[in-house]
């Protein structure tokens, strides 16, 4: 199934998911539109939709066909087609909430001390920028969360300043500690748990950004705005939420 309505393209993904896609681009405007459609579809409480997954320029609905379709004469693909058309028309006609103005900026503490910033020295040499300048560049911009994936609660954020953009390591580190803040390409991210990983590590946040406690889970969601601020080791120890 393939549909095109205004700026949206809709296609099915296998036999149990539907993708709403905008232009393939890392852009705050696009991810805000994805986040807005996400909230809109949640509010519709559609029977049979078991997951709604936003990422960069797409919103994917996972459905369970058992509860999803009616016993009418239309084929399943016709029903999906009709549902998506109706949804998008309603969404396009609904009054717009300007997310980028409403969203509050979440200030996230990061300790850029060399004991946590495993790669900062190498990046300083590579880009010929002082480490203090790298810290200033990384912590002076407001980042948008474009996607959460890879690990439970791992936020993909961007876009970082061109001067510090660096590809990920060719070989992943066997262990990146939970809370590590890294960069890769145009993006920056935070490791929610101890795990192997290839991002260039600039520091560590004392915040636990993913908690398996059912009432907590992920601290951030797609569309959130994040700004880092530098803290000292002493602050880190005071604020530390990670297990020692």
């Amino acid at each position: 199934m393939n549909l095109k309505i205004k700026q949206w393209k809709v296609h099915t993904l296998g036999d149990h998911a539907i993708v709403f896609a905008l232009e393939q681009k890392i852009s705050p405007l696009i991810v805000n539109e994805i986040a807005a459609l996400h909230s809109f579809i949640i509010s519709k409480k559609i029977k049979g939709i078991i997951d709604i997954i936003p990422a960069y320029h797409t919103l994917t609905l996972v459905y369970d066909i058992i509860n999803f379709t009616n016993n009418n004469n239309n084929s399943i693909s016709e029903q999906i087609n009709l549902m998506c058309t109706t949804l998008l028309n309603e969404f396009n006609n609904a009054p717009k909430i300007n997310n980028s103005i409403q969203a509050t900026i979440i200030n996230v503490p990061v300790c850029y001390d060399p004991s946590f910033a495993l790669d900062i020295q190498n990046l300083s040499t590579l880009h010929n920028i002082k480490t203090s300048e790298i810290i200033k560049i990384h912590s002076s911009k407001v980042y948008e969360i474009y996607s959460i994936g890879f690990l439970p609660g791992f936020p993909y954020m961007g876009i970082i300043d061109e001067r510090i953009q660096t590809p990920r390591h060719d070989k992943p580190r066997p262990l990146v500690p939970a809370g590590s803040v890294g960069i890769a390409g145009q993006q920056t991210g935070i490791y929610p748990s101890d795990c192997p990983g290839g991002w260039q590590i600039l520091g560590r946040t004392p915040w636990k950004i993913f908690d398996p406690n059912e009432n907590k889970l992920a601290k951030f969601k797609v569309g959130d705005q994040i700004k880092f601020y530098a803290i000292t080791i002493a602050d880190f120890i005071k604020m530390n939420e990670h297990q020692l």
């Binding site: 296998g14 036999d15 890392i26 997951d51 997954i53 990422a55 320029h57 959460i148 059912e214 969601k221």
Partner: protein, 301 residues
Amino acid sequence: MSIKIIKKGLSDTIQDYGRYGYQHLGIQPNGYMDFISAWLANKILEKDIHDPVFEIHFPSSQLLFENDHTICITGANFIPVINEKSIVLNKPVHVKAGEILSMLQPIHGKTCYVSVQEKLLNSQWLSSHANSKPLKIGDIFEYKNQEQNKAPKNDYSALINEVTQMVFNNHAPIRILPGPAWPLLNKAALVSILSSNFLISASANRMGFNIIGPTLSINVPNTFLSSAVCFGTLQLLPNGNIIVLMADHQTTGGYANLGQIILVDLPRFAQLHPSQPFNFELCDLDQANQLYLYLYEKFKH
């Protein structure tokens, strides 16, 4: 009532329908690799088909039953034994307190399911028992006898036969629906995917199956932004190889998405042995969804 793991297997887990509703937070659904065999095990014990079961590979874990239980084993045949006495597949089996379930030798298939008639109480997270963490020595699963638990007495051989013929016919192609990167393939690559034999690599696990076949000459740009992927997604890697994402897939992926295997063919695909060649065939959405609905109705009644 409890069941204790007394020997660790290669990669055994507890699974159910899957943990849905949290993929936007990067939490994977997990769930059965072969949902049909899991449904059968539960159905034969007259349970909800989506209930939790042990998913066992070979070499397998050993389970110690600390109380009397009724169990059913389906899926792969690893010659299951209770205290060294072999037991049948696809039938309710009574196990006495103190007895041990082991698997002797893989005969066919890759994954078997052990359903327990009593209700599993612990090990739940976010409304699901599905878990990517392997069972280990000392794990204890607590069960509760339910009032309505009567000895299962219905004969399900007709259902077993029909489902086996429909789902586990190893000569039929694995059906796929084309994905976003499919139209970007050149003609030679398309012909290559749809007419070649493939094999599953020996390193296949619950996260993904590398498949071995002709290396595709690529003209697909490797510049996709990550987007949601699902169980059965065929990812084309930059080196021309294909990896099929399985039940423990990450929530999003950035490789070219060639297509997805239809749900009703995933159980057979999951059970394929590395020596069994298979090929792909295109399918359509209505047919795929109707096949799944047909099977579900069979299990419901």
